[in-house]
Symmetry: C2
Subunit: 396 residues, 2 copies
């Protein structure tokens, strides 16, 4: 028998699996080109060609024992120094190798960070809507998720609500900018307010409330804007990063945590992350991919394809009458459901449109449309979206 | 502040770190070639050349979106089928792709398996001596480790003691053959008794007691012996494997779990492992290395180098008067301390010999000597071992 906890998770997870199966079923009936799957956050831009060149060059030049061998659990020193230098060049940081822990993607990194700081019953504050996996990550360490209600239409974090939510058991706050699922990007003013509040609350508490900044979409940003670096606004920040989106390497599981020397208890915290990487069973981030990151650190993401998709889909959907804020980053549109969420999703499916409900992000009444897909598919899907609008907005 | 739980682990972990620092300190004083580090289980044989050839060929031939992309959390279907076929050819198994979950090494796999089955307070039985990380893995899921005392000199699992240890909260038993740290290999008779007992106890309990078989050393076996396949003796077995040792890829983090359809609740159990892979933050085993495994599945480990080391070290140490059983697998010698363990380890350090105490494996009064090192280093170290024998065995 599986555990009671997992039994619940396996059962509740079956909705997404059902959607996946539904997609396959629909493709068999209508043909793959007539089914429009907007449910997955899987990059549609391939990895830069330099990645594969780097892999071949590394394999040819690095000694096999180093290339495929164990290193310290936090990762190769030279890789961590390269990551530190890259961040220091771009932001107001002064990291060195010791401040960086290479991780098995951002998902691995968040689990490591939570393992390092959370005791059973500690509270972790999250802003709805948020990536549903946070609930599982927090539960893995017997923490308690405290959810701040959604703040539409801007979906900027509600600082007043945060002030009320912070309590004596608050251990950390998680932010995610650019945001999955809304595409919102937190501006300098917001981050300044957030930092001010957390400094004041940490002082009251007598120890730091850590800010965990989940940043896999940091480089995917539009309209010539720049993404503020969250840790520049609050020293007690644990930055979690992934190359899944920025280098299109989601399957390779490579990312890092960055913790400044200015963070409270930083030496212990970095040691704890090093140890947590080991005891959670990651042991270390995949060695070859660490070396790839070292060589490809300055590769730029080609966000133009995502931007093109964003413009087409946003202008079409708003023209059809749907309500949503134009996303400033990531590759998701978060659209208000004109009718009850589950009915809307079922209706969308009738037009072969596969969308994920806001309920999965603790924000009922919305759908997330992942536009990291082929432009052609969006073009083919537009008539379906139009019909969906006519069938649902009229019936509001 | 880091969590109280991690604080304890970070502090207790400092003994190994201190050993590492000690090694560096000694190397500076005496020269690297005069310090003999037998503390690490890091393969000293490089990966087969076919591994790097496979990497280059995969990069050149596989579409980047497939190569570096997401797949189902359990891994690529074709890779899992290849693993299944390989096991079916060698053992009495009838796995197919659905029975295999690709994992981030065996450490990742064990964490996934435990997450899938353990509720807080469930008991997991381990046989001392055992890999100390099991304690952390069990603690990660709030399980309780129940330790069966060591059974020297053979270090075969004590089935009578197991019978007494099984209780109503027993959820699983962990075995590890070939064994770290003893090098013991469990024979057919032992596994038959173990299977018989667990079948009886599962019947009494009314649900399966799972046997978790941690098999990273399965292919490292000597004297023409073969390694029994644990799951052939007990259907409710969760096999955990890693290519860290057999393909010398410890840094790449690639392995698998195998669960037979004959295991109780196998469909749920496999779903739970798939989900646990995701929610623990592994998401999936590194994609490129999965494809490497697919192409290199029939590569044989060159165990002759380890065997040469084993023969030299075993014959020398026993000649000097040390007591140990000749290991039949893995790459460790487990030697009885002639004097109190910590004093013996300190004495060894005086001769620049770095050994790990049995205490780290819940078996005080022994040292583990990892002979996955250069043959030359063993030759250079023999005079030091001889002096250590003279200094300690005489003073028994």
């Amino acid at each position: 028998m599986i555990s009671r906890k997992m039994d619940g998770i396996v059962r509740s997870g079956s909705a997404i699996r059902a959607m996946f199966e539904e997609g396959k079923r629909l493709a068999q009936i209508y043909g793959k080109e007539n089914v429009f799957d907007f449910s997955l956050g899987n990059p549609s831009v391939p990895a830069p060609s330099k990645v594969n060149e780097a892999i071949k060059s590394i394999v040819d030049s690095v000694d096999a024992m180093t290339l495929h061998g164990y290193m310290t659990n936090s990762g190769y020193e030279s890789v961590r120094q390269t990551v530190a230098n890259n961040l220091n060049r771009r932001f107001n940081t002064d990291y060195s190798a010791r401040n960086i822990v290479m991780t098995v993607g951002a998902a691995g990194g968040l689990n490591v960070a939570l393992k390092a700081i959370v005791d059973p019953g500690d509270e972790i504050i999250v802003f709805a809507p948020y990536f549903g996996e946070y609930d599982n990550y927090i539960s893995n360490v017997d923490g308690k998720a405290v959810v701040i209600p959604p703040n539409p239409p801007s979906f900027q974090p509600n600082i007043d609500a945060l002030e009320k939510a912070v309590g004596v058991r608050t251990k950390a706050v998680i932010v995610n900018s650019p945001n999955n699922p809304t595409g919102a990007v937190y501006g300098a003013e917001t981050l300044k307010s957030l930092g001010d509040l957390l400094r004041r609350k940490s002082k009251e508490k007598g120890e730091a409330i850590y800010l965990i900044s989940d940043e896999p979409y940091r480089e995917i940003i539009y309209d010539g804007n720049k993404c503020e670096y969250v840790a520049d606004y609050y020293d007690d920040t644990i930055v979690g990063y992934s190359y899944s989106k920025s280098l299109s390497l989601p399957g390779e599981r490579i990312g890092y945590l960055a913790i400044s020397d200015k963070a409270e208890d930083s030496e212990n915290l970095l040691s704890a992350c090093n140890v947590a990487t080991r005891i959670l069973g990651f042991v270390n981030a995949p060695s070859l991919q660490q070396l790839v990151v070292e060589r490809c650190i300055d590769e730029k993401t080609d966000v133009s394809a995502y931007d093109k998709n964003r413009r087409l889909l946003y202008s079409a959907l708003t023209q059809y009458g749907f309500e949503c804020v134009k996303p400033q980053g990531a590759f998701y549109l978060f659209v208000k459901c004109p009718i009850e969420e589950s009915v809307f999703i079922a209706k969308a499916k009738e037009y072969n449109l596969l969308l994920v409900g806001g309920k999965s992000f603790a924000c009922e009444g919305y759908v997330r449309i992942a536009y990291c897909v082929d432009y052609d598919m969006i073009e083919r899907a537009l008539p379906a979206f139009k019909k969906l609008a006519e069938a649902t907005i009229g019936n509001r």
